[in-house]
Homo-oligomer: 400 residues x 2
């Protein structure tokens, strides 16, 4: 009998269906039984508002008036110079960050930004630290790069960072800390105070070791904040050894088009080596260049976003109603997630109970912070309103 | 002093400029000195004919009449079902290959198809065999997956496969053989006879070992053949353990848009495991889904290509003229490359001499087959005609 010794990790990664995907598929099945309008699917983090008009206008203009060959040609591996230049300029105008066009490497979206950054840095035996709750794919990306994931348990008080736990997790093996703010799944923004404390600790630890600990800032939700006083600190202004991983998937509602970038902090001492390693990792992983037409679309959309007021409306209705019904909710500064404490300790059991009311929620276990559920409110406001009685009944079932 | 222990391989990959890129950049510099029309740059394999009209028409239609949110949404990780279904159907109509939609995994182009296939299969200690001359990035992709590249030296007689050398290179460590037909850089198509012999050897060796050797068929140039009697065999019809890596970069002149696929042969004994590993590798490397709009563009372009007659015209003029001038050229069945024997043993020296005539050619050393130059004839026919006197003078310099 034949042996089949292909990569077992990859088979497993391909076969294991995420609980998010499973919930979404259950929703599709259930919609066929009782009608789409009666299923309240809060499982997927997929933008629910169309791209801003400038996206379509730019594409139509390029197709009607542009050189059709040049439009779809390879750009240089790090991205078209004009694209990198304008993005750097826009970052500097907003954050005075001193980013140069040669610090920007255009990518096929946030996942690519992360795998490229991680593979650029990782050496055998390295650890990458994440702060719970965290996006589950971080584990996949870090382990595929031959490194180890180390988890700092959640600060369930404020969903900032438990610095004692962080200090205990830092070690001589730590290559980088990955942060994600606004956060998926909690919706929380790390405060300036938190960022300053984090950076102080990392600087001290780097100095002690005589080599830098890097900070990878995963920022696909940067633009998605809803209160005037919410500030999302620009990390390179606090810490030189920062790589910013950005994506236009959420801000421009273009998740399928795969466009984003890595920005390597200009003040990083070994900036040129790290940038070269980013280019090298992009090459080694099979990213030849970021999609060429989208590179032109994003520069015509700088400073613009989809209509984010819809997410704010959704957030406000949902947060107000759910807290009224007796649920314990983390206050969501941004992204499009509400993180709600499960009324029973087993969040999976709670999600199963919620399904009886056709509320499709995602248990928090895979985010490294059990006992909560994630509600993705990137849905229509009308569905949110229709779902409220179900949330109320569910609360009543739990004696709220 | 601080140590910087980031990934040295990645720094090197990012810093080392390929000879192709270096030649191209020399050309741009030289064009500023003597005028673009006086530089004969044959360095880059970048399509020189526009996409077929259906590409623009489809995009305009989608932008003017489609649901703008759905158009740019995530598809499932393996690609939209409709896209996979129609591609499978098209393959089966042309090659009767028995490919199912669930054997197709949409990718961000040929490089992604390759890194995903290699990472899906590779276990520690594995070897991947390539046949010289070969695309230099194969080495980068294989080594980044933690495996080793083993090279079968070129059959410089016919640029098919030297089977004695292949047999000597096969070992218990061989996980797969990578073939590329039509070939970059030789332009040669592997004949049906060659494919049959190759498959017989691989079947015998697989049987002896009790586990399969896989065949990875890298086919971005499949559509680019110019003689009526040239047949490019569809490999899954000869060998069950085949993964086909396809890209639309050349056939539709869309290299910047990053769209292609992996097709896992339906008759592969462990087809479901290999397909799962392909999905897993795509996930681990950071490919979330292939660009969504392009997934819709390619299904409206099935069976269509850019105007390839221009490449045929270029090939015919160049091959006829260069052989007349006394150059020894491999007969190029397809792709858009002419592989010419260097008149002196050192192809680098020959390329430097050619630069004196403003002919920019690429030496073959990095393709694993020293002593040749690659001429990429994806340029204007007019430039080819203007370059002929320079080629003639260069031949005369070498006493031809």
């Amino acid at each position: 009998m034949a042996k089949f010794t292909i990569n077992k990790n990859m088979i497993q990664l391909g076969n294991v269906r995420s609980v998010i995907r499973e919930t979404f598929e259950y929703g599709n099945k259930r919609a066929k039984e009782i009608g789409r309008e009666n299923v309240f699917d809060f499982s997927l983090g997929n933008p629910s508002v169309p791209p801003p008009e400038c996206v379509r206008d730019t594409m139509l203009n390029l197709l009607q008036n542009g050189d059709q060959m040049k439009l779809h040609s390879y750009t240089s591996a790090q991205g078209a110079e004009a694209t990198r230049e304008k993005i750097a300029q826009n970052i500097n105008e907003r954050y005075n960050a001193g980013i140069d066009k040669n610090d920007i490497y255009m990518t096929c979206g946030a996942a690519a930004s992360l795998t490229i950054s991680i593979n650029a840095l990782a050496c055998a035996g390295d650890e990458f630290i994440v702060i719970a709750p965290f996006f589950p794919e971080y584990r996949v990306f870090v382990e595929a790069a031959g490194a180890k994931l180390a988890v700092v348990d959640a600060d369930t008080e404020n969903f900032q960072i438990d610095f004692e736990k962080l200090k205990n997790t830092l070690s001589a093996k730590t290559k980088a800390v990955i942060i994600n703010t606004p956060n998926n799944p909690s919706g929380v923004v790390l405060s300036e105070d938190t960022i300053k404390k984090l950076c102080t600790i990392l600087k001290e630890e780097s100095k002690k070791r005589g080599e830098p600990i890097y900070l990878i800032s995963d920022e696909p939700y940067r633009e998605l904040v809803y209160d005037d006083n919410t500030v999302v600190p620009y990390i390179t202004n606090y810490y030189d050894n920062t790589l910013v991983c950005y994506s236009y998937s959420k801000s421009l509602s273009l998740p399928g088009e795969r466009i984003g970038y890595v920005a390597v902090c200009n003040k990083m001492e070994n900036n040129r080596d790290v940038y070269a390693a980013v280019c090298g990792a992009g090459r080694a992983l099979g990213f030849v260049c970021a999609p060429s037409m989208m590179q032109q679309v994003v520069i015509e959309s700088l400073g613009k976003t989809s209509d984010l007021t819809i997410y704010k409306t959704n957030r406000d209705i949902l947060y107000k109603s759910l807290t009224e019904y007796g649920y314990e909710c983390v206050y969501p500064d941004g992204a499009f997630y509400l993180f709600v404490k499960s009324p029973e300790s087993d969040a999976n059991a709670f999600c199963n109970k919620a399904r009886e009311f056709d509320l499709l929620l995602v248990p928090s276990d895979s985010f490294g912070c059990p006992g909560y559920v994630r509600i993705a409110y990137c849905v229509t406001t009308e569905m949110i309103k229709r779902s409220l009685p179900a949330f109320k009944k569910l609360a009543e079932y739990y004696g709220k």
